[in-house]
Point group: C2
Chain length 247, copies 2
């Protein structure tokens, strides 16, 4: 048995929110093809929820979350992380700054969602979008999905306030079961408007709409937690393959 | 808003197995009284599943997991952890060695379970025990619970092999739903033999017996993941109170 503590370790910048960070660690494990502990992917989760609110910072002049996110990435790198995954969509409004200060590659959650849509043959959409006010109003998903050939459908300002925000805030307050109803209402509105699939584009939303209640909604959902976890699994497989090739 | 990145951060030595480590992060979040992200407890989860199997090491001369566990604790300390929680019961067979090499306090999961039993008024037992072969055969729970005044009831060698081991191994292989039946069978045997409560004394077992199926079993369960998470929450509250008193 090797006692080489290095090797491919995935770093997860969580905490935004902490339940989403923990859920990412769970889904990374559940989506990995492994029969015993030792076949799972080594990962370290920095789950610091003190990061100032991302939407407040971007839309309302709130405190800057960037130094907190940079601190988290630095801690993950010190711990041995060879790649960074950030299970928070809104945090990707600072993606360029985070990449610039990181010393290892940083996955992009929305590119992972686009990969998931591609894999499932859902082009050219339209893809209904759900997320935080900052993610939706600043066009983060629209920019990335449209560059990949997808049309997008965005909830109205009223729908964001009535459905997306409560669903997200209820999960952050541990009131997960109550978050289903507003999330499902938004999905139904987007479907009625012609969406071919809906992106759960905030990592609280996959918790609001648990896996065992999705089939009943009658429309494909792309889950930003699962999409990012699949990207980490792909990275790990490639590392392991190249490690074996080099050995 | 403070940009002091230090303060009370909980370190979690997970990976044994990784689903249990992730579940611990989830339960730590869910059991915390918090309305927004920033009220949750900062935590870092070292979820390295490469640690050699603990039961193999202790009962069958397998590779030594101690250097891997010490490495994990050192990485957590470097990342800023001010306390260590280890959501793996069997790992506590190395508790004294881990405490000796750590520079911050290390919680003891079985003391946390005893605290949970005390809180729920379940003394003097008898408490039915479930866990890995090493945990049960080497008397880890028996020693700690009996020192706290509890009688214990241990499954037979056959019951450990037929019920505990499959339930644990199925969770580690991501076959979580299949793990319920053997776990529930063992709980029923212990109950029939006079147990007043059953300790899910391996961190895979709370996943085998999910929260929403527990009431139907008709016997109190003490969950080593939740008990340890509650100990972290108590520690965090005490830190915050003393921090405020000092400020």
């Amino acid at each position: 048995m090797s006692t080489n503590f290095d090797g491919p370790i995935a770093g997860v910048l969580g905490g935004m929110g902490p339940l989403a960070g923990a859920a990412f660690a769970t889904r990374l494990t559940m989506l990995t093809d492994a029969a015993v502990d030792q076949e799972h992917i080594p990962a370290v989760l920095w789950n610091d929820p003190r990061v100032p609110d991302r939407t407040q910072a971007r839309l309302h002049g709130g405190a800057d979350p960037l130094p907190w996110m940079q601190n988290g990435i630095a801690r993950l790198e010190q711990a041995g992380a060879k790649i960074i995954a950030i299970p928070c969509n809104t945090a990707h409004l600072w993606y360029d700054e985070l990449v610039a200060s990181a010393h290892v590659p940083v996955l992009h959650i929305i590119e992972s969602v686009a990969d998931d849509l591609d894999r499932r043959g859902l082009a050219p959409g339209p893809i209904g979008l759900m997320g935080t006010p900052a993610t939706l109003k600043l066009g983060l998903y629209q920019k990335h999905l449209e560059a990949r050939g997808y049309q997008t459908l965005v909830p109205t300002e009223q729908e964001i306030a009535d459905f997306c925000v409560p669903a997200i805030e209820l999960v952050k307050a541990n009131r997960v079961a109550e978050a289903f109803e507003p999330a499902a209402a938004c999905i139904a509105r987007l479907q009625a408007r012609g969406a071919r699939a809906v992106a759960l584009g905030c990592t609280e939303l996959p918790l609001a709409v648990p896996h065992d209640r999705r089939a009943a909604l009658g429309i494909p959902l792309t889950d930003s937690i699962d999409a990012l976890a699949l990207a980490v699994i792909d990275w790990f497989r490639a590392q392991s393959a190249s490690g074996k090739a080099a050995a």
